[in-house]
């Protein structure tokens, strides 16, 4: 597969993630959409790293850092979800409207 093929694939994955974030009502499903978007980004970086960069170390370290930050983000997000469920008894994004302007 060519570089354009990989870019198109990761673009499609990113769009799927955006759609999940915009349309899902469950906060965990929103988190899953964010994860899909992050994976699209790392797939993109790896494709550039393979096809149009002379030193392949930088891109791999970049993706490694993306994976590490995703782990940190998921830990925080899940603890917020657990706390929300404990205090509000819901994780439906349509019902958590206290911060709505």
């Amino acid at each position: 597969m060519t570089l354009e093929g990989y870019l198109t694939l990761s673009l499609m994955l990113f769009c799927i993630g955006v759609f999940a974030v915009l349309s899902q009502r469950n906060l965990i499903a929103v988190l899953i959409g964010v994860e899909l978007m992050m994976n699209a980004a790392s797939l993109n970086v790896m494709a550039f790293n393979r096809f149009s960069v002379t030193d392949p170390t930088t891109g791999q370290i970049f993706v490694l850092i993306i994976i590490g930050l995703a782990a940190a983000e998921v830990a925080i997000f899940l603890s917020i979800i657990v706390n929300l469920y404990r205090t509000r008894r819901t994780i439906d994004a349509e019902q958590l409207t206290e911060l709505q302007g």
Binding site: Y6, L11, I32, T58, I67, A72, L78, Y85
Partner: protein, 168 residues
């Protein structure tokens, strides 16, 4: 020939898993779709020349993050809760916005010209090269990431802990 077929198989796994995760209303299906999609991305990493990152993807994403999401699902909502109906107008709006964004970026991808370089030699892709770069040139990033992970763990514990009464 076979290699191309396997690459397209992994690409199909990525897209089908993502669609499954994005469309379903059952949270367990969404988690399994995420796992399928992540597995496909790991396979593509393999064919993009980095077995190390494919292994990390399997270990951290599928072995760690997906399991953590299952754990949170079991702590928060019971699997028996009927998922809420989608709001049809919002779904259509989300699809339109996503399609517009996707088409715009697709035009960008088609219009852009990327310089093609010859692939790096085999030893530049080794795990040893990554480790050497992490401990020399990217040492600061490496250490910062470890501090960020430590802070995230502490913050997660602090947030998820039951609220105690304020000290009088």
């Amino acid at each position: 020939m076979l290699e191309q077929a396997v690459i397209y198989l992994f690409a199909a796994l990525v897209l089908s898993g993502g669609l499954m995760a994005a469309w379903t209303r059952h949270i367990l299906y969404a988690i399994i779709g995420l796992g399928i999609s992540l597995f496909g991305v790991a396979g593509l990493f393999l064919y993009l020349g980095s077995p190390f990152l494919a292994a990390m993807q399997l270990l951290i994403y599928i072995g760690g993050i997906t399991v953590a999401i299952v754990f949170a699902m079991m702590l928060s909502i019971a699997m028996t809760v009927t998922p809420p109906e989608r709001n049809r107008a919002k779904t259509v709006f989300a699809a339109v916005c996503t399609a517009a964004f996707g088409l715009g970026v697709f035009q960008l991808v088609r219009a852009a010209r990327f310089p093609a370089v010859s692939p790096a030699p085999e030893e530049a892709w080794s795990v040893g090269a990554i480790g050497h770069a992490l401990l020399t040139h990217y040492n600061l990033v490496f250490e910062t990431l470890s501090v960020v992970l430590l802070l995230a763990i502490m913050g997660a514990i602090l947030i998820a802990r039951p609220q105690r009464k304020a000290a009088s």
